[in-house]
Amino acid sequence: MDKEGTPPIPKRTTRSSSSITPSKNAAKPPKTSDPYPPSTLNDLIFGQPISLDSLLSNFPGRRIQILELLRLLGPPNSPLLPLFIYGGSSTGKTSIVLQIFRHLNRPFVYSSCRTCYNPRILFESTLNQLLLHRRKVVNGYSSAKRCERPADFVNYLREALNDVLTNLKGHLRKSSSEKLEERGNGRMIYLIFDNVELVREWDKSSGITHLLFELYDILKMPEVGLIFISSTSPDTYYSSAGVVEPIPVLFPDYTEDVLCQIFMRNQANPKLYSSFLDVILRPFCRITRRVDELSTAFSPLFKKYCEPLSDLGVVPSEDMKRRLFCHLQPHIAASLNEIFKFESQPSLEAEANKEKFTRKCNMRKVEGGEAFDEMDFHISTSAKYLLISAFLASRNPATLDASLFDSTGGSDNRKRRRKSSGKSIEQKESAEQELLMKGPGSFPLERLLAIFQCITSVAEGSLEEDQQEDGGLGAEGGDIGLMSDVLLQLSTLCNANFISKGGSCPLEGSTRYRSTVGEEMALKNSIWCLRSLMAKPSFSIVHSYLTGTLQKLISRFENDCHILGNWLTESFDCYVIVQI
């Protein structure tokens, strides 16, 4: 360790001593042949300081927090107890801290625990910054020190900090006469750790969080300030007593007014945008107040909003606002539920695009039923049957299987079911509700295969008949049992996330599966199955079940979308006719 550690030290000293002269170079992109400007202490400063006023105006609604932080940081060279800044994500914590340092023009080291995803990288990247080390081809993109253990980190850190601090003092003395603002202000160096909440997940037992919080006590260097930024509150961290507790600073969620101010910044047409915000902000604020989520949701909506306008610079009148609102209204509800939207290349837009733009649009647009009876990707027949059997196995209690797929024949079965359904519809409904709440159940492989075989035994018969109709297209020689390679199909479906492999059952010790197919998918699939099985005399049992699912699905979809519902009921009716 020591061997590796020692060589860079002379390098570093030469660098920092030479750093005084080319200090201005660092700000511009170098035009010399050397692409790397020598690293200087300037790298630890944000650069181009800003005034307090612009800082405050950049962050509306954060005046209290900024002033508080400035007060805690104090005048130059004043020691700092550890700070703990917390608040929900996207509330401006990181940006504000960074901008404050830009304003104060003090040197700092920033490490985000998201980028540094394990302790070693966190340690090394902190040290790299402190040692002004730069990864490049020459050094094989390696870091300055190899540092895996917390103890090493503390040692190296102390060394590096001492060096930096002496350098800072040296600069101060030298530059005090001339350009003070070029150098950082003061002799303090600050270590900022962002996304500290992620550290907890690295290794549940490792004491990295403790290390970070105890760093102040361990280092015992008054010139080092520690700042932690986290999205969870301090209560979720501390456990050991006797540590200097960081001073918490809370960044609360933005209020609606502040959000309005934030979104109004840098708008080309503030009037238009404010009328847009009037409409949109309130419903969205009920769902989320995160600026990032809102802004991703707003940008396409604003485009929609502006669609009827020819001139974007127009100042909207009341009447126009109303019209624009009417134009926008149908899209609001949809985008409230959507977090993820597609934009296609305009060149691609032809017909494929229209068909499946998003699900919501699809439902609204489709007139006939064409888009529903087929899945828009290729899936082999046997996988389709497997999918539907997985769906059945997942949604049905296992006790129903025997009555549904009994080989004794459909007629008496049906009678029985009719009776029972007449008696206890309510019971059934409540059971259904319960099923819905529970979600899909898990099932062992054997049950899946059994159901699969029941369905395919019907289906294979039907296929044969189809082939006879076709004149035996590949009937004799090319006939392949659907049952073969089932496990291969199953793994395909697992890969496609249609079926998830659950943990093993504690009692039986075999893997259990669960169908994670959405109902819409299942619907498409079962419609397909019905079509392919239709006009078969021998399919009553399977069918009666499939229609059961269909009916359920229809009733659920009817509320959502009438066109689909109608279409389904129609096809269902014609199916029933066929069956009778």
Binding site: A27, G140, D194, F342, E343, F377, I379, G478
Partner: protein, 724 residues
């Protein structure tokens, strides 16, 4: 012979036995007695003779003639056949690659266009100067700058095998346009490796270093180097569905923090639906994506393109028969759905064809420019045996060729080539007609290959076309009748190209085309007239409709005529065996293992495999001489899902110790084994029966047919496999 009697006569050559029969695990447990007849014949030199025996030995006398041909042509023509195979297959392979590349090319170009657009968009945020690149804090605070441009490429196939190659090619395509490309497979996003795994692979591909700790800062400093910083970085993830959601999400979040200094553009393959990213990724990762959708050609489209580009090219010699085509189609639709396996099946067929067909080296001639010259040259040199075998082909016997000369063979082959060309033209015309109604080429192709269908057509001329009702060809013809004029015009133009080789049809097509053109002029003239007269009469409309209807009718009749006269399947032509592969069984056994079923069948009918004299006599009844596992499985058939161990054991014991059947059976056996059997059978101890029972149960469990007793029901085992 029972397995308990293993140290018997055959033990003298167990190893040679194994090698000879290529024994599988099941055989090893139970060695077959040599068949009686052989045993008689062999006499004293038993062991030596055994090695000589090949499975096909009983037929050896019949085959001797064929063997001679084989021997003869092995030395002379085998190299020729191999050469021909190499030539044919390399042609097919390259053309498949070309076809696939052509299909993807459009999408690839679109993706590249989008990549460069996104790159300029990222660059427009704020060009970081190189001194800042090394800093680890986020430089820009605007949220829109944290978005990752993500191309979602929909592959339209649940199986991702085909797309591995596609994404590789996409990577090469983008590389050739100057992007830095890294291909990440979904395996790198596993929970085990965590985010370190994918970063490491990323660094390995971009920076070409493998650091111990994969830090994304390395990538940043690499990218800030002068020679790298002007091109976008593209990361291709081939299958989104198979990625671990949390790892991928973390990866995305990290990248999005760095997107300004490292302008990474993501391309992700999505196999299923638009919901897939929603299902996998948490919302905070999702909203960092700025998605754009691309769609690759669906497998069906690609399949059609391959068939058109390979199987329907007159210059490719290799053909598949009706059954093979049907098998391939079914396999594609029902089981696998990947082009990869289709191509593999085609290759297997090709190899098998060249291996099995002695005259297949003549196939090379089709590839030649002047194939007739090639054939007449080759056929003249053919030895008599080969010639005879050519004229003995069933297709030729049917036709009763006059003289068995090389010249005739060459002529026959040329005729075959001509017929095939016509057939291809007709199929392509049908395809074009069906295209507007989404009838797939694969379906038409298979139907057009059906020899029965052709024969039926040939036999009853008077009943019109004799098209199969509801068949794809019939549909295609029907669709022509109600095509709108513009489409019809297009269609006929394509026909004109397709029917280049058939002069008769070609002229008719031209006639049709001129008719259409005339009508077009006529119509515009009429329209002008009506415009001038300001009186759009209904009569002119009527007339016009009538006119186009007539053209439609004529086109349909023409197509019917093509079907009748030129759609002669290859299997109805003499000498087709030389260029056409029609042995579906080979292909089936190569592609579909169906292991569970096979195991069950083999267990139930073990003597079919073992072919031992002791068991073959009785058809279905259980014999103690059968293999234990086989007995056990047969007994298990009588139980339901649960098998009571005690009952099972008792019936097993009863079967193997049953003296009456055994005694009767023994008499028929050869004296040698009989002696041993009678000595042994009385003293099968209880312990050994139990041991055999246990071993059989374990074997059944290993083969996956049984599940061991659970804690709840310790006295029962459960049957796992269902039915045959």
């Amino acid at each position: 012979m029972a397995p308990s009697a293993t140290p018997d006569s055959s033990s003298s050559s167990p190893t040679s036995d194994n090698r000879e029969n290529n024994l599988q695990p099941f055989f090893v447990l139970h060695k077959a007695l040599p068949r009686k007849s052989e045993r008689k014949a062999t006499g004293p030199v038993k062991t030596r003779r055994k090695i000589d025996l090949s499975p096909a030995s009983p037929k050896s006398s019949e085959k001797s003639k064929a063997d001679r041909i084989e021997e003869y042509e092995d030395c002379h023509y085998k190299p020729l056949r191999i050469e021909a195979f190499d030539l044919v297959w390399s042609r097919i392979e390259t053309s498949i690659q070309d076809v696939l590349r052509d299909i993807n090319n459009n999408v690839f170009n679109e993706i590249h266009h989008w990549v460069s657009e996104s790159f300029t968009a990222i660059r427009s945020f704020e060009r970081p100067n190189s001194s800042k690149v090394n800093r680890l804090y986020p430089i820009v605070t605007d949220i829109s700058c944290k978005q990752l441009f993500t191309g979602l490429v929909f592959t339209k196939n649940v199986e991702f095998v085909d797309d591995l190659l596609t994404f590789e090619e996409l990577g090469l395509h983008l590389k050739s346009h100057g992007c830095h490309v890294a291909n990440l497979s979904s395996l790198e996003f596993s929970a085990k490796n965590g985010i370190g795994g994918c970063l490491k692979s990323l660094l390995r591909q971009f920076v070409r270093v493998t650091p111990d700790a994969a830090d994304i800062a390395i990538l940043a400093s690499w990218y800030s180097e002068r020679e790298n910083c002007d091109n976008p970085l593209v990361v291709i993830i081939d299958d989104l569905e198979r990625c671990n959601g949390s790892v991928l999400a973390e990866f995305l979040l990290m990248l999005s923090e760095w997107v300004v200094s490292i302008p990474i553009i993501l391309i992700m393959g999505v196999a299923t639906t638009v919901d897939a990213p929603r299902n996998i990724l948490p919302s905070n990762a999702l909203q960092r994506l700025c998605p754009c959708k691309f769609t690759l050609g669906s497998p069906a489209e690609r399949m059609d393109a391959i068939i058109k580009g390979v199987l329907l090219k007159p210059c490719f010699g290799f053909n598949v028969g009706y059954k093979v085509a049907g098998f391939l189609r079914n396999y594609f639709l029902r089981q696998d759905g990947t082009l990869t396996s289709f191509i593999r099946a085609l290759k297997i067929a090709c190899v098998k064809h060249f291996l099995a067909e002695p005259l297949s080296f003549l196939l090379e001639g089709i590839l030649d420019e002047d194939s007739h010259y090639f054939w007449s040259e080759k056929c003249a040199l053919l030895p008599e045996v080969m010639l005879k075998s050519a004229f003995d082909l069933p297709s030729c016997k049917r036709d009763k060729m006059a003289e068995q000369t090389g010249e005739n063979l060459a002529n026959g082959l040329s005729e075959l080539k001509r017929l095939r060309k016509n057939w291809i033209s007709a199929v392509l015309c049908l395809y074009e007609a069906g295209k507007c109604h989404k009838i797939q080429l694969l379906d038409i192709f298979c139907e057009a290959l059906d020899p029965d269908f052709f024969n039926k057509r040939a036999s009853d001329h008077q009943s019109g076309l004799g098209l199969r009702k509801g068949g794809f060809i019939c549909q295609a013809v029907r669709k022509v009748r109600d095509l709108p004029v513009a489409r019809l015009c297009q269609l006929i133009k394509i026909w004109e190209k397709n029917t280049d080789g058939i002069t008769e049809i070609h002229s008719k097509v031209k006639e049709l085309l001129s008719m259409l053109k005339f009508e077009d002029n006529d119509k515009s003239l009429k329209q002008d007239l009506s415009h001038t007269s300001k009186r759009p009469t209904s009569r002119s409309h009527l007339y016009k409709d009538k006119g186009t209807k007539a053209v439609n009718e004529k086109a349909a009749i023409l197509l019917e005529c093509m079907v009748r006269d030129y759609l002669q399947p290859i299997e109805c032509t003499p000498f087709h065996e030389i260029i056409c592969f029609s042995n579906v069984d080979i292909l089936q056994s190569a592609l579909i293992g169906d292991p569970r079923r096979t195991i069950q069948v083999d267990l139930l009918k073990s003597h079919n495999y073992l072919q031992c004299s002791c068991c073959s006599k009785s058809n279905n009844s259980l014999l103690p001489s059968m293999h234990d596992t086989s007995i056990m499985y047969t007994l298990a058939q009588e139980h339901g899902d649960l098998i009571n161990l005690h009952d099972w054991y008792q019936s097993f014991k009863g079967t193997i110790t049953c003296p009456t059947i055994k005694g009767k059976h023994k008499m028929k056996q050869s004296p040698l084994s009989k002696k041993r059997k009678t000595n042994e059978s009385p003293d099968i101890s209880e312990a050994s029966i139990q041991a055999r029972f246990c071993r059989a149960v374990t074997e059944l469990q290993i083969t996956g047919l049984l599940r061991m007793p659970s804690k709840r029901r310790p006295d029962c085992v459960q049957r796992v496999a269902f039915g045959l």
